[in-house]
């Protein structure tokens, strides 16, 4: 059965590596849920955190295919409970008046989030957290009218 898996890859910090990884995953018919990439404590190495939808056999294929790439130094699957994951969310939500904005701010606070911006008609809520928490926040914001939403996708580290 297909489910979401988090793969953490250490890759060479060259141009073209992202294209190789993304190309390989799409060419093999896997769906990328999210992919983040940035440098690590070693500036010659980047870490990619990839969330894919796949069943167990396909997941093994993705991992071993990634391992075949010369620029991929290490591939690890991060298993549930064994890693910390975070993503960042920005959501613009309609707020007709000041009372509404205050209500949204209170809601945000319950999720450890804050208002990043505020206008007469809307507020921008900034939240960091694991995927599940952010999903819950989005559900609570939805009735208020989300006009724009952006999420970074997951970054993760082993515990």
């Amino acid at each position: 059965m297909a489910e979401k898996h988090t793969i953490s890859c250490l890759v060479e910090n060259h141009f073209g590596v992202l294209a190789r990884v993304a190309g390989l995953i799409s060419a093999r018919g896997f769906n990328i849920d999210s992919l983040t990439v940035s440098t690590t404590e070693d500036p010659t190495v980047s870490r990619m955190t990839i969330v894919v939808d796949a069943d167990a056999q396909k997941l093994e294929q993705v991992k071993s295919q990634l391992g075949r790439l010369i620029d991929v130094i290490d591939v690890q699957e991060l298993r549930e409970q064994q890693f910390i994951d975070r993503e960042l969310l920005l959501a613009r939500v309609s707020s007709a008046n000041g009372a509404m904005a205050a209500k949204l701010e209170a809601l945000a606070k319950r999720f450890g989030a804050r208002l990043a911006d505020k206008t007469d008609r809307s507020v921008v809520i900034e939240a960091a957290g694991d995927t599940k928490t952010l999903d819950q926040l989005v559900e609570q914001l939805r009735p208020h009218g989300i006009t724009k939403l952006v999420r970074t996708g997951r970054v993760a580290l082993e515990k």
Binding site: E12, G16, A27, Q61, G67, R68, L69, I70
Partner: protein, 583 residues
């Protein structure tokens, strides 16, 4: 330290990698490279088309075991290489393709003859390099050859913008240190996995070895023979594995799969242990993957972990160099009692031999049998793709490693002639034949000029049926005989040969087949093309229809026998039978 131009650095690197021959075509942006080659002692084989250069590098690599090198200019030169690179990728052949590129300052500007070569070839190369500065050339070349030839071999592309070849840098040949590749180059073999596999072999009652091209890449044919002989386990090979185990050996089952031998596929369907060695369970081998060797536990030895459990789930995976694993296995393994099983197989071999019906016109199967006899199974045989390729696999008796040069994974029509040319350059003393179809041959026929220019004694046998024969067969089987775009306009290949300064022979009668082959064998100073006018609608049997299991074959011995008029086939030679039944 004295500085060298980038192109000279490239030549110095090629020399250090043992390259003395390259295939290619010059153009605007790779002129500095060709100029440096001109001044060096590396031989440059000018091809007619870049696809020819890539296939020649491929054929050269397959025949010699060395890395083949092809060169092309940017843009159309590079795109013309693409089919050849993809072909090498699918069959894990070590080639290095060196393409010219527009100067770095205009990359991305849609400059004249610019394409994103790295982007286009990314999914069909093992790795690639865009070398933007002359200082980076040496490392790129060093790593490219290392990556091409180690681990699971494959094509590596080096894209050289013209300014990096004219710019100067100090030359130093670097040490190899690729942190993401060390384990791939030579994976560590898990001794426990080998031990478990050896134990399974010792307990097996109906084991079959299924050997692929990995045996040839690893140079492990002696180790394979040792395993088969000490355990008395019969060996079937994939198309690309042919030659890895001599077909004269009583334990040889020949080829399995879509057009494999009937009894071989039955043996695989009945076996209780399948020992896959350097083979990737391709769909042409497995048919319906869930049904493939359904009763069997499966061992899979492969250097590439991504090959394991890709299409067929296995019980005993062993990742490692095939030669190293076989050596370890040979030390541990205890022979099971296979005498009953070998008797069963001998019986099936007797009951379901490979046969064909005599017809008035010449049959390709007969021609290939005659070539097999005339060369005693010791020639290098290149093929195109189609019916003639499958008949070659069935009717030529392959006895030597690296003797079949054929496009397996990609199925590239037009591979035969340039691959044969490359093979002849790689093994100058070998007898090299291209067994081809008229459709396949015409896709790269222009390379006759290359063969003639170098007076290569390559022999080309064209099974000329004026059809894309395999597609025509599928149209008869699955499309009610509607021959959509499969009839070919007849071509006079004898005159095409003569126009290219080759010997041309046309054969229309069965009696003239062998004399023509013998005559071609005598010609050593130029290529010979034999245009065999064969039966137009001969079908290739037996066949497993796509997605069907191995015990549901079409064109079996029983169905052919009903119509009568069967001719004998080599694979039921009585002495082989008696040896086999003695166990």
């Amino acid at each position: 330290m004295a500085k060298l131009k980038g192109a000279q650095i490239l030549i110095e690197c090629l020399k250090r990698e043992g390259v003395n021959l390259v295939f290619g075509i010059p153009g605007g942006v790779n002129l500095p490279t060709f100029d440096a080659l001109y001044k060096s002692d590396i031989q440059v084989i000018l091809t007619v088309h870049e696809q020819g250069a890539a296939h020649m590098a491929d054929g050269y690599a397959r025949a010699s075991g060395k890395v083949g090198v092809c060169l092309a200019t940017s843009g159309p030169g590079a795109t013309n290489l693409v089919t050849g690179i993809a072909n090498a990728f699918m069959d894990s052949i070590p080639i290095v393709a060196i393409t010219g590129q527009v100067r770095t300052s205009v990359i991305g500007n849609d400059a004249f003859q610019e394409v994103d070569t790295i982007g286009i070839t990314r999914p069909i190369t093992k790795h690639s390099y865009l070398v933007k500065r002359p200082e980076e050339i040496a490392r790129a070349v060093r790593e490219a050859f290392h990556i091409a030839r180690t681990g699971r071999p494959g094509p590596v592309l080096i894209d050289l913008p013209v300014d990096s070849t004219v710019g100067e840098a100090e030359f130093e040949y670097p040490e190899i240190n690729i942190r993401g590749y060390k384990l791939q180059a030579r994976p560590k073999v898990d001794p426990e996995a080998v031990r478990r596999a050896a134990e399974a072999i010792g307990k097996a009652k109906r084991p079959v070895i299924y050997a692929g091209a990995g045996v040839l890449h690893a140079g492990a044919w002696a180790e394979l023979a040792e395993l088969a002989h000490t355990t008395r386990i019969p060996v079937t090979t994939s198309l690309l594995g042919l030659g890895g185990f001599p077909e004269t050996d009583p334990l040889s089952l020949g080829m399995l799969g879509m057009h494999g031998f009937e009894y071989t596929n039955y043996a695989v369907a009945q076996c209780d242990l399948l020992i896959g060695i350097g083979a990737r369970f391709d769909d042409r081998v497995t048919g319906k993957p869930d049904e493939f060797a359904k009763q069997a536990k499966k061992i899979h030895v492969d250097v590439d972990p991504s090959s394991i459990n890709k299409t067929v789930l296995v019980d005993y995976p062993i990742v490692g160099d095939v030669k190293e694993v076989l050596q370890q296995l040979n030390r541990l393994v205890k022979a099971p009692d296979t005498s009953e099983w070998l008797k069963t197989i001998a019986e099936m071999r007797r009951k379901y031999p490979l046969m064909y019906k005599e017809k008035t016109k010449i049959l390709p199967q007969y021609i290939i049998q005659q070539i097999s006899e005339a060369t005693q199974g010791n020639a290098i045989i290149a093929t195109g793709v189609g019916q003639h390729q499958m008949w070659t696999a069935q009717f030529y008796q392959f006895n030597a490693p690296r003797s079949l040069i054929t496009s397996g994974g990609l199925g590239t029509m037009g591979f035969g002639l340039p691959a044969a040319i490359g093979a002849q350059f790689g093994r100058p003393d070998a007898v090299v034949w291209d067994i081809d179809g008229d459709g396949s041959f015409q896709m790269t026929a222009q390379e006759l000029a290359t063969a003639a220019q170098h007076k290569l004694p390559v022999k080309i046998a064209i099974m000329n049926n004026s059809f894309h024969g395999m597609v025509r067969q599928w149209q008869d089987l699955f499309y009610e005989g509607r021959y959509a775009s499969t009839r070919l306009n007849p071509v006079d290949f004898m005159r095409l040969a003569e126009a290219n300064h080759c010997v041309g022979i046309r054969v229309e009668q069965k009696a003239d087949v062998r004399p023509a082959i013998d005559r071609a064998m005598q010609i050593t100073d130029r290529p010979t093309v034999i245009d065999f006018m064969v039966e137009q609608k001969e079908d290739c049997w037996p066949m497993i229809a796509p997605g069907k299991p191995h015990n549901e074959m079409l064109g079996t011995y029983e169905t052919l026998k009903k119509d009568g008029g069967l001719a004998q086939h080599r694979h039921v030679a009585p002495d082989e039978e008696s040896k086999l039944s003695l166990g």
